[in-house]
Every structure is written in C-alpha cells, then in structure tokens.
C-alpha cells in the first residue's frame, strides 16, 4: 500500500525533526499527524485504514522512560438519531417507544496504549469524553416519558446503551486498548479502520498525552472523509434529485425488461 510507505517516511521525518529539536523542548509535548487529512472512501471497496503517528517531546531521556500513555479519539460528524424499542402489543412485537438524540457522533473510535480505566480516573475520562462509557448522549426533552423519575433514568440508560451497542455493531464505534503502540521511547503509531459505511463530513482526531492519570497535553487534528465512486454518485442523486433518480430507475428497468424479452425471443 502506497499510503503505508509514505506514512513510514513521514514517521521518519518526524523522528528526525524531533531528534534535532529535542534539546530545546521544555516539557513533554505531542507532535502528531495523520497519514491522510482527506480520505476518499471508495464504497465499492470495503473501507480504508487511517494511520496516526506522532512523538512525545520531552526535556530529558529520563522523563521519557517514565510511565505515560497516549489516547487517540476520532469523532465523526454529529447526526440526529432515533433509537426505537420493541414491546409486545396484543401479542405482536412492534416498535413501542423511542428516544431521539439530536447529536450523536456518526463515528467514534478510541485507541489507547492500555485499557482506559488503567490510564485515567473516570472523572478525567468524563471531562474529556474519552470512552463510550463517558460519551454524552442526551435525548430530546419534548419526548414523552423523560420526566426524570428513577424508572425513566433506567430506561434512558437502556436507550443510551442501545445506541452505543448498535453503532458498535455497525463498526462505527470502537474501543481498542493497545491500539496505540510506542516504537521506542518517543514515537507512537496507531491504525484505525474506516469502514465503508462511515458518514461523510468533518472528523477530528484528538490525541491526549496522559501522565499519572492527568492529561498533560492534547492536540486536535482535523480530518475530512469523503466518499467517491459510482455508489456515492447514486446516493447523491437519490437524495438531491429524487425525481430524476426515480425516473432513471424506471427507464433502466423498462430498457432491461425490453432487452430481456428481445434476447430470449430469439433463443
């Protein structure tokens, strides 16, 4: 893969830059980059891989040897989503109640050097919304049955969990402890799967450097994911020009039906 070769080259370039700049650095800082800032996912393809890499700058080699962790959080564009729950009504399982979330990240991947719980306290993770456990999802208030009683809190939690579970099933949410690996003392790298069903739009890759349970440096890198190819063209046409799309679909079917009749008439 060409991107991997360029990425390796970039890692090397960063390493050299850090080696040259090393003695001047005051405290530990992050230097990070992505293999691509603009990803064009071919939907005929099964998705793509994104490589993140960086280095921890430090005052002296002794500090580097100390225990520190890196967490990478990639968040996709926010979307409004509705989770519906089935219940048995008159003997039939049907959608019974629902919660609508105005702002759900369409993609959410967490990679870390170790398990999140081992790296930082829940308070720290909560503050930075690191980890699915700490992802804030609030149902819209006007919805029936969100009056804040204990019963509803339990139900709200069940709905919240359903969003996380279903997004995970779609490979859109993931938590990968050990997904960030250090190459030596300063360099680290991580590889993220971008599946074909990712939403298009603006993403951010936040990299957190954590020592002794607290975030000592963070860096955000923007990322734009776009889909290209025939399938994308079809999707855009269906949503932007639905009438044209419908007419074209019917014409295609008419031609195909006529062609089939013509071909098999001869045989």
């Amino acid at each position: 893969m060409g991107t991997r070769a360029t990425a390796a080259g970039l890692v090397l370039a960063v390493a050299i830059a850090i080696f040259l700049a090393g003695p001047r650095a005051k405290a530990e800082e992050l230097v990070t980059d992505l293999s691509q800032h603009l990803i064009a996912v071919k939907s005929t393809f099964t998705g793509t891989k994104l490589l993140l890499f960086g280095a921890v700058e430090a005052e002296s080699p002794e500090i580097r040897a100390l225990e520190r962790d890196v967490i990478i959080v990639i968040r996709g564009p926010r979307q409004a989503k509705t989770s519906r729950r089935k219940a048995k009504v008159a003997g039939i399982w049907m959608n019974y109640d629902s919660r609508t979330y105005a702002s759900v990240p369409g993609y959410y991947a967490i990679l870390s050097t170790r398990a999140l719980e081992a790296i930082a306290s829940p308070e720290v993770l909560e503050r930075h919304q690191i980890g699915m456990e700490y992802l804030r999802l609030r149902p819209e208030l006007e919805e029936a049955g969100t009056d804040g009683s204990d019963d509803n809190k339990e139900l709200d939690e069940a709905f919240r969990r359903s969003v996380l579970r279903l997004m995970q099933r779609e490979d859109l949410y993931s938590e990968v402890p050990g997904g960030v690996t250090f190459l030596g003392h300063t360099l680290f790298r991580a590889e993220v799967d971008i599946p074909a069903n990712v939403p298009v739009g603006n993403y951010t890759a936040d990299v957190y450097l954590i020592r002794d349970g607290s975030v000592i440096h963070a860096q955000a890198t923007p990322l734009y994911i776009n889909k290209i190819g025939f399938e994308r063209f079809v999707f855009n046409l269906a949503h932007r020009q639905p009438l044209v799309y419908g007419v074209v679909s019917v014409v295609l079917a008419l031609v195909a039906g006529w062609a089939a009749a013509a071909i098999f008439r001869k045989t």
């Binding site: 939907s43 005929t44 099964t46 979307q79 409004a80 989503k81 509705t82 989770s83 519906r84 729950r85 089935k86 219940a87 048995k88 003997g91 039939i92 399982w93 049907m94 959608n95 629902s98 609508t100 979330y101 105005a102 709905f159 359903s162 969003v163 579970r165 279903l166 997004m167 779609e170 074909a196 069903n197 399938e231 994308r232 079809v234 999707f235 269906a238 949503h239 639905p242 009438l243 799309y245 419908g246 007419v247 074209v248 679909s249 019917v250 295609l252 079917a253 008419l254 195909a256 039906g257 006529w258 089939a260 009749a261 098999f264």
Partner: protein, 310 residues
C-alpha cells in the same frame, strides 16, 4: 464478491443477490406469477431494510412485467381500455399507498405494516391455493373432470352504474369495479412491493368475468405503469429505491425465469400450484414468527424521524 448497496447502505454478496433473483425468477417463470410477494420477504430475511426492499422490488417488477407484457402485446392479448381504467384506479391507489407508507415510516411503524400485510395476504392466498389445488388433485385422482366456473353469468357487479363497453374483453360493465380493483392493487404495490397480479388476475376472472386470454396481458400492462409510478413516488418521498440492488435482482430474475418457464411445462399444473401454496405459506409463517417471537435485539437505530434504517 462484495458490493455496496448505496441506498440500503450495506455491503452484500453480489452472487447471493443474483442467486436470489435467479431462484425467484425461476419460480415465477415456472408458476407464471410475478414473484414480488416472494422476493420482498426474501430481501427482508437477507437483512435489507424493509422500506428499501419494498421500493426496490417495485422497481424490479417494472422490468419483469415489461418482458411479460411484450409477449402478450404481440399476441394482441391486452385489453387496453380495461388496462387504462385499472390504471386510473392504480394511480390513485399508489398515491394513497405511498402516503400511508410515509406516514407510518415517520411513526416508526412501517416495518410492522409491511410484515402484517404480508402475513395476512400470504396466509390467505397460500391457504386458498392449497385448498383449491389439493381439491383439484383429489378430483383428478378420482377421474372426475375439473369443474371450472363459466364466465358470462350475471352478478352484483352488473348492477352498478357508469357502464361502459370493453370491446377486447367483450364486456359491458360499470367502471367502478375495475377502478376499485386497480386502486387496491396500487395500494398493495406501494406498501408491499408487489405487482398485485395475484389479486388482480382472480378478480378479473371471477369478479369482472373477463375472458382468460386477455387477463394476464391486461394485468401486466397495468402493473408496468403502477410499479413504475410507485418507484418514482418512493424515490421522491422516501429515497428508498436502491437501483444497484434492483439491477442485480433483475439480472438474476431474467435468467431464472427462462429456465423456470421450461421446467414448468414439464410438470403437473395442480401439483405445481400446491407446491407454490406451500412455499407461500412457509414465507408467511417465517414472517409471522418474526412478529411473535421475542427478537434478539429489542432496539433499532435509524436517522431521526424515519424508521427502516439499520
């Protein structure tokens, strides 16, 4: 070979979809039925969102009915005037059907609507076909000739106003029954993704008492336009027509239908119908179980305001 369906927004195996198209095409060629009422549930079983399955199947039926209608057109076995009256009803029914569909989609109940319609219709038609074909098999074993009802007898249909003459069908009847039949079929096409031949053909024979030689051609003539309109309406209202899926199904279906037609000529008609009835009932039971058994996952997630997502 994995292929990404742009509207269903999932990756499927192209060979599996072609195979499904081929299998249903084979059955429809063998039994002389449209196949929509088997294909839509199969697509749902394969994990395609029901709303997409219905709209896409309507698109595929346009193609399969054009092939069929052309054959009947060449034999002059199409009553165009009757077809147009059925079509006017069909247009009204399609608009009503798509409106109901969109309304229930926004309430999150469209999957239920589709399943319930299928369970009711497949159950009723499968049971009727099974009883009728088993009766026919029993009669033929006992050596009695099958007693088909004769056309030409008068019924309540002939008492209705707005009578008009349908020359090809040699009928002078009210336009109300064909309008009503057309409208029913239009609603079914919009909600279930079927051509509706399984309702229209018996209704034309037993209710309108049309001569059997023009029935199939006329019904196919109406189905082309109604499913075409339903495809466009679903595209505009719901954006649920997956043209990639439709083309895959179509390719498989066309080939399957040719082999099916040949196989059908070698087999006994009554036994074939009993077999089809059993298959229809099996699909009905499978859908009914989906409504009755506790699902593995109680929750489903979709874009806000619309059901039938992932």
């Amino acid at each position: 070979m994995q292929i990404y369906l742009p509207i269903a927004e999932l990756s499927v195996n192209a060979i599996v979809i072609l195979g499904m198209g081929g299998a249903v095409g084979f059955l429809s060629g063998m039994f002389g039925v449209g196949g929509g009422f088997l294909m839509t549930p199969l697509l749902i079983f394969a994990g395609i969102p029901p709303a997409v399955a219905v709209a896409t199947e309507a698109n595929q039926i346009v193609a399969s009915s054009v092939s069929g209608a052309l054959v009947h057109w060449r034999r002059r076995a199409v009553d165009v005037k009757m077809g147009v009256v059925l079509l006017i009803g069909g247009v009204l029914g399609s608009f009503l059907g798509v409106w109901i569909f969109s309304l229930l989609r926004s309430l999150g109940q469209v999957d239920l609507l589709i399943s319930l319609c299928y369970v009711v219709f497949l159950g009723a038609i499968g049971a009727l076909m099974l009883i009728e074909s088993l009766g026919a098999i029993r009669r033929s074993r006992q050596g009695k000739p099958s007693t088909a009802r004769r056309p030409g007898q008068h019924s309540w249909v002939h008492g209705l106003p707005f009578k008009t003459r349908f020359r090809s069908s040699k009928l002078y009847i009210s336009v109300i029954p064909p309008l009503a039949i057309g409208a029913t079929v239009g609603i079914l096409a919009a909600i279930m993704g079927v051509g509706g031949g399984f309702i229209m053909v018996p209704a034309m024979i037993y209710l309108l008492r049309m001569p059997t030689n023009v029935v199939v051609g006329t019904s196919l003539f109406q189905i082309i336009f109604v499913t075409g309109l339903v495809t466009i309406l679903h595209s505009v209202q719901n954006q649920t027509v997956d043209v990639v899926l439709a083309l895959l199904l179509l390719a498989g279906g066309v080939i399957g239908a040719q082999f099916g037609a040949r196989a059908g000529q070698k087999l006994n008609g009554e036994q074939l119908r009993a077999l089809l009835a059993l298959m229809v009932l099996a699909v009905c039971v499978r859908l009914a179980l989906g409504l009755l058994l506790t699902p593995d996952e109680l929750f489903s997630l979709g874009p806000a305001g619309a059901s039938g997502g992932h």
